[in-house]
Structures are given as structure tokens and as C-alpha cells.
């Protein structure tokens, strides 16, 4: 049954009327019209729907909307600041880590959470940190390179 849900999305307080038994992914896309978050597999295997929920990178397809109540949520739409791309987004461009682009929002949100936990990951930690995301275009090397570029940018 639908109800009012209150939370912070991308730094902004929002109240919206939605079904708490729907997935967060569905609510983001179809109620809040935040289409940046993608649905890939819908079963938690591909990571395309990754968002940051209370500081944790999670698959929004495997989270019910009742858990949005009073939560702090970040999606890809919240990363740009004052017309500037986020350093991770900029790093994706510089490394050529994007082809079709479908997996990018999920990767970028996962990388954001990963670098908040561990600002200077080793190569192995980068690889391990991204095992929950699938890219069918790039072969991952460019994405790993993007993480390294983002680490340097964020250190500045």
C-alpha cells in the first residue's frame, strides 16, 4: 500500500508517495524519474543499479522502498557539482572507460563508495572491489585505469 516516504536524495530532502513494497530501483526511476540508475539483471549479479544508501554501495534492485525512509541516498545524478563532473566521472572520460555507457552509473557509484572506504586502493583491491559490477564492452582495464586516475584527482 502506498504511503509517504521521506528521505534525502542527492543532498535534497524529498517526500514522495510510493509503494514501500516496490524496489528502490523502481521508485527511483518511475516515481522520482531519476533514470540514471539502470536495471541490468534484476537479481543482484550485474551491479548496474548500484546506488549509495546510508554510505553503502548496494544494488537498488535488491532493496525495498521501505528502507528509503529517513535514508541518505546518492545516485549518479547527484555527483555533478556546480556544473563540473565528479572526479570519478571525469576519470572515466579520460581513461575511455565507457562505450555503451549502460554500466557506468553503477560502476561509478560503487567506485565512489569504495574510495570513501579506502582512498588509495592497490591494484588487487580495485579488482576485488569491482567484482559485483559487469561491463560487457570495455574488458575492465580502462575502468581500473579510471579508478587510478580518480584516486590521483581526489588526492589533489
Amino acid at each position: 500500500m502506498k504511503r509517504d516516504i521521506k528521505c534525502t536524495i542527492n543532498g535534497r530532502q524529498r517526500t514522495f508517495y510510493a509503494d514501500p513494497c516496490a524496489s528502490v530501483l523502481d521508485v527511483l526511476r518511475d516515481v522520482l524519474h531519476l533514470m540514471g540508475t539502470k536495471e541490468g539483471c534484476g537479481t543482484g549479479d550485474c551491479g548496474a543499479c548500484t546506488i549509495i544508501w546510508n554510505g553503502k554501495a548496494v544494488n537498488s534492485c535488491l532493496l525495498l522502498a521501505n528502507r528509503m525512509e529517513n535514508a541518505e541516498i546518492w545516485t549518479i545524478e547527484g555527483l555533478m557539482k556546480d556544473g563540473e563532473l565528479h572526479p570519478i566521472q571525469q576519470a572515466f572520460i579520460e581513461a575511455g572507460a565507457t562505450q555503451c555507457g549502460f554500466c557506468n552509473p553503477g560502476f561509478i557509484m560503487r567506485i565512489k563508495a569504495m574510495l570513501e572506504e579506502n582512498p588509495d586502493p592497490t591494484d588487487e583491491e580495485i579488482t576485488q572491489g569491482l567484482v559485483g559490477n559487469i561491463c560487457r564492452c570495455t574488458g575492465y582495464k580502462a575502468i581500473r585505469d579510471a579508478v587510478k586516475i580518480a584516486v590521483k584527482k581526489q588526492r589533489r
Binding site: C21, D30, L62
Partner: protein, 293 residues
Amino acid sequence: MVAPLAKEIFEPETVEEAINILHRKGEDAAIIAGGTDLIISLREGVIQPANIVDIIKLPLNYIKGSRAKGFQIGATTTAKDISTSGLLKKELPILVDAAIHLGGPQTIELATIGGNICNASPCANFTNVLAALDTVIKIKGPDGDREMMLKDFFRGPGITGLKRAEVVTEIEIPAIPGAYGASYVKHTLRKEMDIAIVGAAALIIPDANKVGKIRVALGSVGATVLLAENARKILEGKTFSSRLAESAGKAAAEKDASYIDDVRASAAYRKKITRIAVKKAVLDAWSMAKGGK
């Protein structure tokens, strides 16, 4: 399109309240904790309950105790909390290992130890490891509190010994005093992201050069996680050697496990891997018990 996965969701804040709701709603309710298994079942229509009882607000997120006295872990403790616990890293690293390899980083943030057990998958990481540790499941329900040994908790794939309106609240791992070794070998193709093709967990408490206490638990090679009793009999009380570990692997593969062909592997492949996985788990556990890694 927004497709709600149930009609109503309840968010009890006490175990008693959760039991009352479950009692009232009967068969038409499902418990959600981490949700990483349940939501997939809801989406695929495997289960279609009208009501969901979200137990995340229950005060069941804790890791207490020590190896000398035993550990108590709350049912809604996440794999992330377990994988980052300083206490467990120092005193029970096998459980940290099970948590790290449970799934990708996004899954680990949400998945709970209680959910991993109650989902009753014969492949579940925590269940596989906990079975080797003689774990006890603490249950609360309308008729009061009770306990079950984890090894007796499962009736088949997806089926537990829980009665109507009962909730698993705590996982208790008995004390492991003195020197011990424990190892978990999970064979998969896509590392963390895959469900185990074969899982083998071993616990050894040595008695000088002999194997004192030994438990070998197997995952993905039976209808439930199971204890490999034939492997135990071969090892228990014997002077340890790698040949003995080899024999234990052979006994587990030939007598304890049962195999099916499925999408992840053939029965014949699973049998070969079981033999190797058990041998490796036993060798690693012995090496740890004797002061190795």
C-alpha cells in the same frame, strides 16, 4: 513500471512484535532481513506472500563473545559486519573468510548471517562453515524459546525446521579452546559472485600429532549442507598425514556427498572436486592448527 512485490510491509521493532505479526498472518507472510535472496524469490514469483515482515529494526545486529567462551552473533548481523570484525579476524578468521566470499561487495553490505541460514540453500557459505563449528541456532516463537543444532535445522533445499511464526534470533558458536585449525574451500568459477559448485569446511582440534576433534562440512553436494561422517571417522584419533587427508577426501566424495547435474556443474565434476576440496580443507586446517597460516 513500479511493481510492488507484496501488499503490505511491517517493520517491527521488537522480536515479540515480529512474532505476533507472523502469527497473525500465518503462511501469507515472509521475513525479510538483508533481502538479497528473498527479493529475487519475490521477483521471480517463487514465493508470493501478501505480507513482508522486515526484521532489520530488531536489535539483532551484534557480535559478542570470544573463542575461549564461544561467540554469539545476532541474526541480522551483515556479512560486511562479520568481514570487518576485528574480533572475528583475530579469533575466528574462517567466518570472516565465509563472509568475504559470500557475494560481491554490494551483496555483502546487505546480506545477513541469519538470512543466509534461513534461506536453507545447500550452497550457503555461512551455513557450510557454521556446520563445521557445531553451531547452535537460537529460535524465538509463539511457544517460547528453543535451540537447534545447525546440522539438524534443514529439511531440504529451502526448507528449515522453523515452525509457524518462529524467528531465528541468534547464532551461537561453541567455545574452541586451545590450538585449532579451520579452513573453508569454496570452488566456483566467478570467485565471489558465484554460488559454490562445491564447498568444504574443516575444523580440527589436534591432540599432539593426532587428529583430536574433527568436523568436515560439505556444501552444494546434497539437499542440505551436511557433515561428512565417513571423512570424520577416517581422521578422528589418527596420526595426521597428507595421505590420511587424501583418504578423507575420497571417503567424503564417495560416501558422504550426493551429486546432481545442474546449470553450475555436472555430478561427475562435483565428485572430483569434492575429493580435492575436502583434502585441501583438511590439510589447511591441520597446517593452521600446527601454527602455520
